[in-house]
């Protein structure tokens, strides 16, 4: 299902940062059970200023700063959700998610399965990933593959301002535990966002660009790189279709399969190391369900199997970009 804005929708051009702030604001206003807490989210307004003004508006019962304790952030969110609240916690950098990992993987993900009734864990963990700022090995890892192997968790990685807003609202209203991943290098990216209230449901892939010659399945910040690669390829007469799953798990493979059936070429793009990553799962799903439509081996674009390096040139070598996507598409087509 494509989610292009129709021409009549009134929109405002705004950043991802503003969109997230609006989403939090609207949900805090709409539902008194929604809580927002984490390190530096209240008085400071979030390290990257995502929650600016919310503490002032909603007060410290609803929006508050916490001790430096990710275990508590994960564990208390599970408990609050089981008791009926709708907690949104910020675990600053995604590299810190493993500290709360026990609560996310062993608790949040499994309580709906474990309970004898309809009790679930409606919590959202917001966290940042993204390379390119010289923050080195512990402040930029893309963690989607760590969590997509956990049944019961939902993993969301939006790309555009419109989706950041709609999906965060969708995640807060969703009854399952959601890990909501924000690319810290893209907070300033801007685009049209509907003026009217809207939400976007989880687990629906979206076609970001239509094309007939190759399918690029890109996630998070890599959607921008894919769009850039597609523009360049278009100048060379190659029209790429870009599918943005938006929710990594549970994955909506429909639009991916449909696209591959049309283009017969598949390239995946992610920031995390390629081995054992999201692209590998997409490739396997396509091989399962659309193998005979493929004209060439699947190409996966991602990082090498190393930690994120610090030195400028090493980080550049590490980070996958539009160039890598462009050559992967050409390679696949020329095979």
């Amino acid at each position: 299902m494509s989610q292009q804005l129709d021409a009549e929708t009134e929109t405002t051009t705004q950043t991802i940062r503003e969109s997230l702030n609006q989403a939090l604001h609207e949900e805090l206003e709409r539902d008194e059970r929604v809580l927002l807490y984490g390190e530096d989210v209240a008085e400071y307004g979030g390290l990257y200023k995502i929650s600016e003004g919310l503490y002032e508006e909603f007060g410290e019962e609803r929006v508050f700063d916490t001790p430096l304790a990710e275990t508590s952030l994960g564990g208390t969110a599970v408990g609050a959700a089981l008791a009926g609240a709708r907690p949104v916690v910020e675990i600053m950098y995604a590299d810190f998610l493993p500290i709360a990992g026990d609560h996310l993987i062993n608790y949040a993900a499994k309580m709906y399965f474990n309970y004898g009734d309809e009790t679930s864990v409606p919590m959202v963990v917001r966290s940042m990933y993204g390379t390119g700022d010289g923050h080195g090995l512990h402040h930029g890892q893309s963690p989607e593959a760590w969590f997509m192997n956990v049944p019961g968790l939902k993993v969301v990685m939006p790309s555009t301002p419109r989706e950041y807003k709609g999906l965060l609202k969708g995640a807060i209203r969703d009854d399952d535990p959601v890990i909501f991943l924000e690319n810290k290098m893209r907070y300033g990216e801007s685009g049209p966002v509907p003026d009217e209230e809207y939400t976007i449901s989880l687990c629906e892939s979206d076609v970001k660009r239509e094309g007939t010659d190759a399918t690029i399945v890109a996630i998070g910040g890599m959607v921008y790189e894919a769009l850039e690669a597609a523009e360049r390829l278009s100048e060379q007469g190659i029209e790429c279709e870009i599918v943005d799953p938006r929710t990594i798990s549970p994955l909506d493979t429909g639009p991916i399969l449909e696209s591959v059936e049309k283009t017969n070429i598949l390239v995946t793009a992610q920031e995390a190391p390629t081995f054992g990553g999201f692209g590998s799962e997409v490739a396997a799903q396509v091989i399962d369900d659309a193998f005979f439509y493929l004209d060439a081996p699947v190409k996966r674009v991602g990082a090498p199997f190393t930690p994120i390096p610090f030195a400028e040139n090493l980080e550049e070598a590490y980070q996958p970009t539009a160039d890598d996507i462009e050559s992967a598409v050409i390679d696949a087509i020329e095979t």
Binding site: P67, H138, A311, N313, A317
Partner: protein, 327 residues
Amino acid sequence: MVHETINHTELLEDLLLTRRFEEKVLEVYQDRGIRELPHSSLGQEAVGVGACYPLEDDDLLAPSLRTRAAMLLRTPVEEIVAGMYGTESGPSSGRTTEHHMGSSEYGILGTTGMIGSHLNPAVGAALGNRTLDNDRVTVVFFGDGASQRGEFHSALNFATVQELPVVFVIENNQWTEAMSIDKLVDVDDLADLAGHGLPTEIVDGQDVEAMVEATAEAADRARSGDGPTLLEAKTYRYRPHAETMPEHRDEATLEAWKDRDPVEMYIDRLLERDQITEAEIESIDEQLQTTIDDAFDMAESDELPDEETLYHVYKDTEIDHWKGVAK
């Protein structure tokens, strides 16, 4: 009195080195940038300097991101600076930042960007050293923020029941990024968080001699098999959490702390006791400044690392780093 056993020229050199280094970092960062985002230790230098002073050369240090003194007193200055620039001559040739450096050669336990995640590894290092039957002591530095984690309690407890040779040093600068400790912990002294049957001591972190004395005692206890000690050093940072963040703390409080500047306090005391002359201080300072300036000049003209440097992931197995598979 401990000050009678201190070599004051050396201790002052350590303190001034750290101070001048941090000043230079700020100056260069503001002027033309440095790849590693500075998290300045200005104002807190006496904690690390004093705690390192009474240690043996092979004692192990586990610094926090702000314990610049620990890095500087163990590592050649030019290596530290190259580490901040991410150039070839840095501790890991640019693979990681100087903040996170680890070096067996210099006795620095590899550190982490996860605040407080180094506490249990530091306790483990003490366990390792006990297993190897040497008498190395491990000194682990961390902030008030780290003391809010469960890691803090589990590390203290493990070290205490195992009577391991560890000295825990809280650098309590009273701020966890932009959050004041008052909102995060309901005790006045973090030493009161400890429990676990472990001896604690509150130390004036602006007084380098007090830090030397407290750490010397704690290290002796550890070395003689009597187990760990927790020192809470009360201190304050002069700069915001990181150089990208605005100053939002109360100005009067900051000024009051600056009135008890660790470098000035120590110098005044030495002059008063006739343990050093103004001329001697000046000559130490000049020499240090040259060393530091040279180190920055070297880093600025140093080469970026070779791409091969990245491929340092597994020690025992060769892999294809792009495909992620064994060769």
